[in-house]
């Protein structure tokens, strides 16, 4: 579906495609933006808009709330531009902000217990999601939708790392940096997450 820019002169969808061919690094673009080049931000934004919103919406399991934190994440990037240092990879920085906002959101909403119980990556009980109703189950039958539904039922910490891996495309080291966890703990959470996802498929089968 073609993108109709809501802001004159900005063509995000085209930027999505252009970004793949654009050799300029995220960090360089961010530094240019910090120096006052708004066009550099547009390029950066085009690279991460889908991925960031995907992470937030699926981690929060709430589109509206995801959009709120999406805007908040970018707002923080904008406001913190002058303090940005190239020593930090931009995407790690971006997703760290998003991750912190998500964690904060869960805490504010009284889901602390869920987070704490799963911080060790040892699995734990599934989240308190109600079982999907017949209509929802019907809609989630196939392929990616089914996988996303299964990811949505993972515990917070496992869902976090698997989304950072699958949605944001981060590696283990980057996920560790984003979440503040030890790389081995990240691997452990990923293993548990994969195991649980596969187990659900087998159970369904």
């Amino acid at each position: 579906m073609p993108f109709t820019p809501a802001v004159d002169g900005l063509h995000c969808r085209r930027m999505d495609a252009a970004a793949e061919q654009d050799p300029e690094s995220d960090e360089s673009l961010m530094l240019r933006y910090a120096a006052g080049d708004a066009a550099a931000f547009e390029q950066l934004y085009g690279r991460y808009r889908r991925l960031l919103l995907g992470y937030l919406v699926r981690q929060l399991r709430d589109r509206e709330r995801g959009e709120e934190l999406y805007q908040e994440t970018w707002t923080r990037v904008i406001r913190a531009r002058e303090g940005y240092r190239q020593s930090a990879a931009f995407r790690t920085w971006l997703f760290t902000i998003a991750h912190n906002l998500v964690t904060d959101d869960f805490r504010r909403r009284g889901r602390q217990a869920e987070i704490v119980a799963l911080e060790d990556g040892a699995g734990g009980e599934p989240v308190d999601e109600a079982a999907p109703g017949p209509e929802q189950a019907l809609a989630e039958r196939e392929g990616a939708r089914e996988l996303l539904a299964r990811i949505g039922r993972l515990p917070f910490a496992q869902r976090d790392v698997i989304l950072l891996r699958l949605e944001a495309g981060l590696g283990v080291g980057e996920i560790a940096a984003v979440t503040g966890a030890d790389p081995e703990a990240v691997k452990s959470r990923l293993r548990y997450a994969v195991r649980r996802l596969r187990a659900e498929v087998e159970d369904d089968g």
């Binding site: 004159d8 933006y33 547009e42 934004y45 919103l53 970018w74 504010r108 939708r145 949605e167 994969v194």
Partner: protein, 296 residues
């Protein structure tokens, strides 16, 4: 890479990523894109060429351009036809490069055409030299809410309902910096307003590792708003003295609990006179007054 492929975990993750395929990511709405990009643009100083362009819009510069062009015209040995194409060509080149010097070219053409010499209204209201009130109207009336590319509309020609269409793309809203683009301190006012709203507890300027989750950072997007659908959800900050019923500056789309925090901070800063001082510092005390929400 080879080692990664031999890693069972990585293999499994790759398989899951393939399974996810095209479902990866979520498409932000146009309105969401617009809000973020407008905030990004509002946060940085205008382009380097802008002061030059704005300088040409001052009455003195306009008069100077008239005088200069008149002298040039009278002193040129050629005809009017000799003069116009050169000027027009200069305009075209400036337009291609986005040069701010395209602004002064307009009066040159007009003088050559024998019309009254005054700067032509730029196509982009963000660069408009319209008086403040008209600028609000013009920017707010655009269908996409961006305020760009629209001809200025007379205030009386726009009803609140026309200006609303908010959920199309944050309709009726334009970044404060764009609203004040005809004033040299536009960016400074937008930033000062944001800083005032954010308060001293804002941690947004720190490195992410220093940003403790849940600290007082707040999304601050001061915008020029007009009343209409969705207006009740906005946090109105300043009332337009000329249009107190339906225009002012607000913060839109601010979630709780930030909304309550900002409201409290704003009330406190109004009470201690900081808001009045801010308006005076930017010469806007005659345009705006601290206010609650305009009547819908």
């Amino acid at each position: 890479m080879t080692a990664d492929r031999k890693n069972p975990l990585e293999q499994e993750l790759d398989e899951l990523a393939a399974e996810l395929g095209g479902a990866r990511g979520e498409e932000p709405s146009d309105a969401l894109d617009a809000r973020v990009l407008a905030a990004a643009r509002a946060a940085v100083p205008e382009s380097a060429g802008r002061p030059v362009a704005e300088a040409w819009r001052t009455p003195f510069a306009a008069a100077a351009s008239v005088l200069l062009c008149s002298v040039l015209y009278l002193s040129l040995p050629g005809t009017e036809q000799d003069f116009v194409p050169e000027t027009a060509g200069r305009q075209d080149r400036a337009a291609e490069t986005g040069s701010a010097r395209s602004a002064p070219a307009a009066p040159l053409v007009r003088v050559a055409d024998g019309e009254a010499a005054k700067p032509a209204p730029p196509a982009d209201p963000a660069e408009s030299s319209l008086p403040a009130r008209e600028a609000v109207t013009a920017t707010a009336a655009t269908p996409d809410g961006s305020g760009r590319g629209a001809a200025p509309a007379a205030p009386e020609a726009m009803t609140p309902s026309e200006s609303a269409a908010p959920e199309a793309a944050g309709g009726g809203i334009v970044p404060v910096s764009a609203r004040f683009a005809d004033q040299p301190e536009s960016g400074a006012f937008a930033q000062a307003l944001a800083d005032l709203l954010a308060g001293s507890g804002d941690d947004a300027g720190q490195a992410p590792e220093a940003q403790s989750a849940g600290a007082g950072a707040t999304a601050i997007l001061p915008q020029v708003c007009v009343a209409g659908a969705g207006a009740a959800q906005r946090l109105w900050l300043l009332r337009d003295r000329a249009r107190p019923e339906d225009a002012g500056i607000c913060v839109d789309g601010l979630p709780e609990p930030q909304r309550s925090r900002v409201q409290a901070a704003w009330t406190a800063r109004v009470a201690d006179g900081a808001v009045d001082r801010l308006l005076q510092q930017h010469g806007l005390q005659d345009h705006y007054t601290p206010a609650g929400p305009p009547a819908n």
